[in-house]
Symmetry: C2
Subunit: 339 residues, 2 copies
């Protein structure tokens, strides 16, 4: 094997140098670097010490060209600012790491055009596979990825009939379950603060879940007072104030996520309204702080860690040539103090 030289003229150590120094074959060195879990701890230690001592760095660019695999997996999420995506992503990354994969992250600010651009960037930069949130995007994007043989797993949604691989949950069913409970408690004047439903399938499905529960209970879904906004505490507070200033004040405000619900709670405090005596409020996601802030929030618990972990496994299996099935995870209603 030829020795190449760095720009400084110093010889760059090769895998053969590492193998010689550790007294093992080059195949063993390769296994230690790519699949450390299948190597004995003693061998791994000896090889990694040699890697360390020689300052060896496997040339992934050369390898990527040769094998068409970079062992990098991309994820595009709407925003890292919502803790729930960040936590799901953390679990996704931990599981990828266990399988020797590195995570590439981009966020799209909930914009489909930016997401498309990022899908192309990550593909071009060598992502072997992608995690995407939700299923709503132009069909040509799925074509683009299929042409390039880049498997995709969709999360935060479940569409077994779409033919796309997903590890998620049914947003409509989850929100309907919560709305069924709300209606059973006797609430009939329902308000809803949602993310934009035009570009966000999860938001749309959740609103649809409320309407379905209303229909089942013989309430007119046309009476649902819906405000669409972008996810932030401030926007939740403003939307709540708007709902409460209308002619027909809702008795319950169902929010599209916990961040909006916390804004609504803040709005209720500003208006001097007691929760749930004067107005009930619900969330969606069960972020860590939903349990405490400012009252323990009634919400839908999304299995974000499990979802991230399974999504990683499903992608790794797909890259290994298997055909894992889609997974639909159950959600859980967390009844706390705001309903």
């Amino acid at each position: 094997m030829d020795k190449t030289h760095s720009s400084g003229g110093r010889p760059v150590p090769t895998v053969a140098d590492v193998a010689a120094a550790a007294g093992v074959s080059t195949a063993t060195v390769s296994r230690c670097l790519n699949s450390p879990t299948v190597v004995s701890e003693k061998t791994l230690k000896r090889v990694m010490e040699a890697v360390e001592r020689l300052g060896y760095s496997p040339n992934f660019s050369a390898r990527a060209l040769a094998s068409n695999r970079t062992n990098m997996v991309g994820a595009i999420i709407p925003t890292m600012e919502n803790a729930i995506f960040a936590r799901g992503l953390q679990a996704f990354q931990e599981e990828l790491q266990r399988h020797g994969r590195t995570l590439l992250v981009a966020s799209s600010s909930y914009r489909l055009d930016l997401e498309e651009q990022q899908i192309k960037t990550l593909s071009a930069r060598g992502a072997d596979a992608l995690l995407l949130i939700g299923y709503q995007r132009d069909a040509r994007i799925y074509d683009y990825l299929e042409k390039r043989d880049i498997p995709v797993v969709l999360t935060w949604a479940s569409r077994p009939d779409s033919g796309l691989l997903s590890v998620g949950f049914d947003n409509r069913k989850a929100m309907k379950q919560l709305a069924d409970m709300v209606i059973q408690e006797g609430y009939t004047a329902i308000g809803c603060i949602s993310a934009e439903t035009g570009t966000n399938d999860r938001a749309r499905d959740r609103v649809e879940g409320i309407r379905a529960a209303m229909r089942d209970a013989h309430l007119d879904p046309g009476t649902l007072q819906l405000i669409e906004t972008t996810y932030s505490i401030e926007n939740g507070e403003a939307a709540f104030a708007q709902l409460m200033s209308g002619a027909a004040q809702p008795e319950v405000v169902m929010c599209g996520n916990d961040v909006l619900a916390i804004g609504a709670l803040k709005g209720a405090a500003s208006l001097g309204l007691r929760v749930p005596e004067d107005v009930a409020i619900t969330g969606f996601d069960d972020i860590e702080l939903a349990q405490v802030a400012p009252y323990p929030l009634t919400t839908v618990h999304v299995p974000h860690r499990r979802m991230g972990q399974l999504a990683a496994r499903v992608l790794v299996e797909t890259l290994d040539g298997l055909e894992p099935p889609s997974v639909e995870l159950p959600v859980e209603i967390c009844r706390r103090q705001t309903l």
Copy 2:
């Protein structure tokens, strides 16, 4: 230029094909792909339409080998589960994207050994530069990165005397400022819930800030009741209960971050203690929910978005051959209801 063929036998479009289709030079195509902001909107549109129509995908692996640049920047953070890191990272990524760079993320679970492993993985995978949190790590890691010509920016800390490039703030000074205010309010029995100070320079500097304020006020820093734990609401609650069950109950509990402080607030509620009448509680970070949950929290506002944005700029400038100086950002004490 030779046409290469994909495994399916379909000719893969080259940059020359795109140039011909768009009626521009190959250099212009290259500029559109690498520095879109320096190209006119009209040209960019024409070229990107051709890219799209032909299904052209620049071969970044080949280019990476040729130029030794991948335009990928790595970030290793302790955890994505703390919203404050996620938000700083979001700003970092947005700014990188503006400069045509893609972000690679890994998280180390606050473990220095895992961080070292991830630094090597990201370097091997072709990261041109790295963002790291804090300055505490073995000197040989900095050597390793210097040998490979991979610039690093340290964030969440400021050590202008270390010779390392940083965009951060002074944790000791920030916490001292808050502790000065606490002591000025008449509190003398001080408790502290901190992350492990042995492996976390930010945590250690914050505790040191409290001790410095005590010394300045002629209080014995040996009387500081310190509990070290890992960051979570549950751990904050447990540590608070432990502090309150001791012989000398603190009058104020200063927490190493907002997540621990929210745990302490939960603990106070469980014990039937009023905040701040029976015990005052402070945080650090000013996460979005600190303003509401469960009471508006007195804390230190960290300019996380500004820090992420400037860290990206400083790295891009360094990669462009400039030598930007380190930046120390000011923090702000947010006095709310818990003190």
